[in-house]
């Protein structure tokens, strides 16, 4: 598809989003002091995102291997699926931001614009088929993230978090770029498919120094992805950033960039390395490497979450653990594994955003994110407590909630690999779920089993919070019992790159 017109049509979602960003900027400027300004901005942003999602459906022929602008941007079902997913994540981010008092009203326009830019970056990251595009996407996600993390300018925690984020982000970007440059040096191309062919050729030959260079390049590239999805050992920024960032943005950050990073990671490894190559004798053992990383990531995340007194921080660590669960399937790299990650992410979007929404609602009323603020929530705000319980048990992976289905597919994909190593990975995965249960159940316990302290009155839910909690909780329940349509959508979309 070298035709420029067709290429432009293929990035229709991005074009719609760009238009929306411009409209929102203008509206934000024109409405300067009007009282309805944040609402208008939110409505326009949401319309833009919905329009982009609609444009995804209009993109022609999402067949396997299609791409636009030469082989820069993939327009296969995989890319389109992830675009839709991250736009949805941004959609929730926009709405949550409007509901939160942590985003000052006069700054809300900036918040929404940055979020839309981020959404576009994530879409490009998920669709990149070229190392350069990949890097651009990554930076386009990172830069607005830094700003949004430090959005509460007067807050020291927020600023500290932003600085940490920038430093670790820059370091891992640097590592990644160095890895990319090695890949370019080895194969003379930035195109992932061509790199893949080069790797196959290289590994088929006798071991040379180039094998070592490839290993180094892979490790360095992996660093960038690990940073984006907050996998060990590049997870250190995660708890501080999640705690310091405004809660609505944390909710977004824990899902959106993670989904986009996961998509890029999958595409990078499956296009460039390809599962069959790795299975072959003498292949680069990236599966084992990723598998070990997955086990370490979930274990570190879960153990660190165990004793957190700050609920936001606990959820931050739990999101590290969830990245670990998904990485198990990435390590397997089969078609089933790709589909299971694709199933997990929308479910994760629902339940994790829901949990953060509950945290936000409690914070709005009590001003606290600490576990103690949740005492007696079951009687102080029953609806909030019940929906929070749904999200937490879903995150744990207990039926009949959607989180169980997500985990079930992940574990199924891992066990289907059928190697003893992956059987061990699966067992480590389920044992981690036990640890996770402990800290999620601890929050439920605080909410239901402990009595509210002195002066801790009812937590009144605002009507928008109630609506949003319902919007997130209902599909979390329904997908736990009937996920057939979602699974078949993914089945259709996953006809991926090769």
């Amino acid at each position: 598809m070298t035709n420029m017109g067709a290429s432009l049509f293929a990035i229709l979602p991005e074009l719609v989003l760009t238009g929306a960003i411009l409209v929102v900027i203008l509206a934000d400027l024109l409405l300067k002091a009007r009282p309805g300004r944040p609402t208008a901005v939110a409505v326009l942003s949401c319309l833009g995102l919905v329009g982009s999602v609609a444009a995804i459906a209009a993109v022609p022929g999402p067949g396997a291997g299609t791409s636009a602008f030469g082989v820069m941007i993939a327009t296969d079902g995989f890319a389109l699926f992830f675009k839709g997913l991250v736009y949805f994540a941004a959609f929730f981010g926009v709405i949550l931001g409007l509901m939160s008092s942590e985003i000052r009203r006069e700054q809300y326009g900036e918040y929404a614009i940055l979020l839309l830019c981020l959404a576009m970056g994530m879409g490009l990251l998920a669709a990149a088929r070229n190392l350069l595009m990949l890097y651009l996407g990554l930076e386009m996600v990172s830069l607005p993230s830094y700003i949004l993390t430090g959005f509460r300018r007067g807050d020291r925690r927020s600023s500290e978090a932003a600085v940490k984020y920038v430093i670790i982000g820059a370091a891992s970007s640097g590592l990644m770029l160095y890895g990319f440059s090695l890949l370019y040096g080895l194969f003379g191309t930035l195109d992932l498919t061509r790199i893949g062919m080069g790797i196959t050729r290289l590994l088929a030959g006798p071991p040379t120094g180039e094998h070592l260079a490839l290993a180094v390049a892979t490790l360095l590239s992996l660093a960038g992805f690990a940073y984006k999805i907050a996998a060990v050992p590049f997870h250190m920024w995660c708890p501080d950033v999640y705690e310091g960032a405004p809660t609505p943005f944390t909710a977004f950050l824990s899902v959106g960039p993670k989904a986009a990073g996961m998509a890029a990671l999958l595409r990078f490894f499956l296009t460039a390395f390809g599962a069959p190559v790795a299975g072959a004798v003498g292949g680069f053992p990236w599966q084992v490497l990723l598998g070990i990383l997955a086990m370490v990531t979930m274990t570190v995340g879960n153990f660190a979450a165990l004793n957190q007194e700050n609920v936001k921080r606990m959820l931050a660590y739990s999101s590290i653990a969830h990245a670990g669960y998904m990485m198990m399937a990435v390590a397997v790299g089969s078609g089933d594994a790709v589909r299971s990650v694709m199933l997990y992410l929308p479910i994760y979007l629902l339940m994790n955003t829901g949990a953060f929404l509950a945290v936000m609602a409690v914070r709005e009323r009590t001003g606290s994110e600490l576990l103690t603020a949740y005492r007696g929530l079951g009687s102080r705000s029953p609806y909030l407590a019940i929906t929070l319980t749904v999200f937490l048990f879903s995150l744990t992976g207990i039926p009949p909630f959607a989180g169980f289905i997500g985990k079930f597919y992940l574990f199924a994909a891992v066990l289907k690999a059928g190697s003893p190593f992956f059987n061990v990975v699966a067992v480590v995965g389920v044992l981690n779920s036990v640890i996770a249960l402990y800290y999620y159940a601890r929050l439920v316990r605080t909410a239901f089993f402990e009595k509210a302290g002195e002066g801790e009155g009812a937590v009144a839910l605002t009507e928008p919070s109630r609506v949003m909690l319902t919007v997130l909780a209902v599909p979390t329940l329904i997908l736990g019992i009937y996920w057939g349509p979602l699974a078949s959508l993914i089945e259709r979309s996953a006809g991926m790159m090769r």
């Binding site: 039926p399 079930f408 059928g418 059987n423 009937y482 057939g484 699974a487």
Partner: protein, 578 residues
């Protein structure tokens, strides 16, 4: 109500009633109680209807309800009942309304939520007993977790938080490893047959290598051994029992624990027969330890509820012992013991709850001489105690006796050691009766206590009737469960008989017919004639029928009545003498 939907009704009636309850305003406490009672009673009627629709003498699954659920994964909504599960379903349904009645006065706060959780729990238990699709089973199995966690944690005693989290963590460790094993089995089955399915009757036929069987059996057995509980994994039970509200304890002891032993019978043993046989010595030893240890620990308890909780450990030891005897009398005894333990221990927890409601203490030392103050209560308590210690003529005896006969056939030493548990059981229960009900009435405040009221009599009466009925006339029950138990026993025995039995089971259940798009067995199913419910003759396992043919059970029961009575009597003498 047609044949195929009755079981769905049994499972979903409580669930739907529970969801409807959430629409009721929370202030309408009385309505919530009546609504739940009505739903549970309707559930009991539905279970009774299911029993009446069943064909007697058939071994296979009946009243099958099967709908493709997620065809791409081979997941079906697949319910069915046989001579094994029907009794556990009936027990669950019977205890349902009783539990609601028992909570009538004692639950005063968050009444609507309490009843919602009870109904949810009921649906989960019934679903787990009736599921024939492993995925569906796992869903129901885990569905029980959250309601029980909240029931203990919100309405429980002083250490409820600790007990609730301990219960959940113990249970989930086992369940999650079982989930991995289920998935492994699923893929192993696919590797052999090219078909993805969670259909239990199909998975029975999976050929596994020795090490595979051992690992998978270990994972399943761990989950069920925690639930049952088998000896070293039992420590969650006393905590959960003591802290749970009466209704929770009754459900927990009455049916939740049986899911563990049922799991062995339905899943772990027939799916992995070689590994199960290899593990027989281990489980015989653990069961005997559980029986004796549970009884000894029960003896020294000062809290009545804790005493009853430890007696459960001991009694469930018999169930496990019977299962791992791998003969028909062991199996029938085990299943019978599951039912009668549900009744007797359920009744004991109810009675303890009644006394706690009045006095807000459960320390044995705070009582004594209650027979003078509350004679009806005392009489009932003595009656249930006698049932619990296995007095011939009451339900407890039949199960224990059959289990011991079965165990004797498997391992004489184990049987002999387990028999001491019978004596010890009499000791701790009768000693409790002596300190609790008889002797001088030292605490004056106990004199003012009111005796059983109408509601309490009403909720105890059905249990008492069944205790007598099962005790004096166990024949029909045993005969009805026997064909299914025979089939399960054959499946649980590695050997050539398995294949034939399995095929008959599959035929009678329609498991060979393709149902969803995920089925690729059209040719196989087409050639097989579809017998509606092919009864499995016990002849498939002749070597086991020799031990104790069930139709003759009553004779045997009667012949040993005298000797067992003597044992009990001497224990009574010892206990009272102290």
């Amino acid at each position: 109500m047609t044949q195929s939907t009755i079981l769905s009704l049994v499972v979903f009636l409580p669930l739907l009633a529970g969801l409807a309850l959430l629409l009721v305003p929370r202030q309408r406490v009385v309505f919530c109680r009546w609504w739940t009672l009505a739903a549970m009673t309707a559930g009991l009627v539905a279970s009774g209807a299911a029993l009446s629709m069943m064909q007697k003498g058939a071994a296979g699954m009946q009243l099958v309800h099967r709908v493709p659920w997620i065809p791409s994964m081979g997941i079906d909504y697949f319910l069915g009942v046989d001579g094994i599960s029907i009794y556990l379903v009936l027990l669950t349904s019977l205890l349902g309304p009783i539990v609601v009645l028992s909570a009538w006065r004692s639950i005063g706060e968050k009444v609507r939520e309490f009843h919602f959780l009870l109904l949810l729990l009921q649906a989960g238990i019934l679903g787990a007993f009736l599921s024939l699709d492993l995925f569906l089973f796992y869903m129901f199995w885990e569905l029980m977790l959250i309601p029980m966690y909240l029931l203990i944690g919100v309405w429980g005693g002083p250490r409820r938080v600790y007990a609730a989290i301990k219960f959940v963590l113990y249970t989930i460790v086992g369940s999650l490893l079982m989930l991995v094993a289920i998935l492994y089995l699923y893929f192993a089955h696919h590797a052999q047959t090219g078909m993805y399915t969670f259909d239990l009757l199909r998975l029975y036929g999976t050929e596994l290598t020795g090490p595979q069987q051992v690992w998978l059996f270990a994972a399943f057995a761990l989950a069920f051994a925690i639930k049952a509980p088998v000896f070293p994994l039992h420590t969650w039970l006393p905590d959960a029992h003591v802290e749970a509200p009466t209704a929770g304890s009754v459900v927990l002891a009455g049916v939740l624990l049986k899911l563990g032993t049922y799991g062995f019978l339905r899943f772990a043993l027939p799916l992995f027969p070689s590994a199960a046989h290899a593990a027989q010595p281990l489980f015989l030893v653990l069961a005997v330890i559980g029986i004796v240890y549970g009884a000894l620990v029960a003896m020294v308890q000062t809290d009545i509820k804790k005493l009853v909780a430890y007696s459960s450990v001991s009694h469930l030891g018999y169930c496990v012992l019977g299962l791992f005897a791998f003969n028909i009398s062991g199996f029938s005894g085990s299943l019978f013991q599951m039912i009668s333990h549900g009744l007797s221990t359920g009744a004991l927890f109810l009675l303890v709850g009644m006394i706690y409601d009045r006095r807000h203490t459960r320390e044995i030392a705070d009582f004594g001489g209650l027979a003078q103050a509350v004679p009806w209560f005392a009489a009932t308590f003595v009656f249930v105690t006698l049932s619990s210690i296995g007095l011939p003529g009451l339900n407890g005896f039949v199960g224990e006796f059959l289990v011991l006969v079965g165990a004797f056939g498997a391992n004489r030493i184990a049987a002999a050691a387990a028999t001491t548990g019978v004596v010890l059981g009499a000791v701790y229960m009768l000693w409790l009766v002596k300190r609790f009900l008889f002797g001088p009435l030292v605490h004056e405040e106990n004199r003012m206590m009111s005796d059983l009221n109408g509601r309490e009599v009403l909720l105890l009466l059905p249990i008492l009737l069944f205790i007598v009925y099962l005790g004096v006339h166990p024949g029909p029950f045993l005969r009805r469960m026997e064909p299914s138990l025979h089939a399960t026993l054959t499946l649980s025995t590695p050997g050539p008989g398995r294949v034939e039995t399995l095929r008959m089971l599959q035929l009678s259940t329609g498991s060979l017919r393709g149902s969803g798009t995920g089925w690729k067995a059209g040719a196989e199913g087409a050639t097989a004639p579809r017998g509606a419910s092919v009864p499995l003759l016990p002849a498939t396992a002749p070597e086991f029928t020799a031990v104790v043919p069930a139709p003759g059970v009553m004779d045997q029961v009667l012949t040993v009545t005298a000797s067992a009575f003597a044992v009990s009597a001497s224990a009574v003498g010892n206990g009272v003498a102290r």
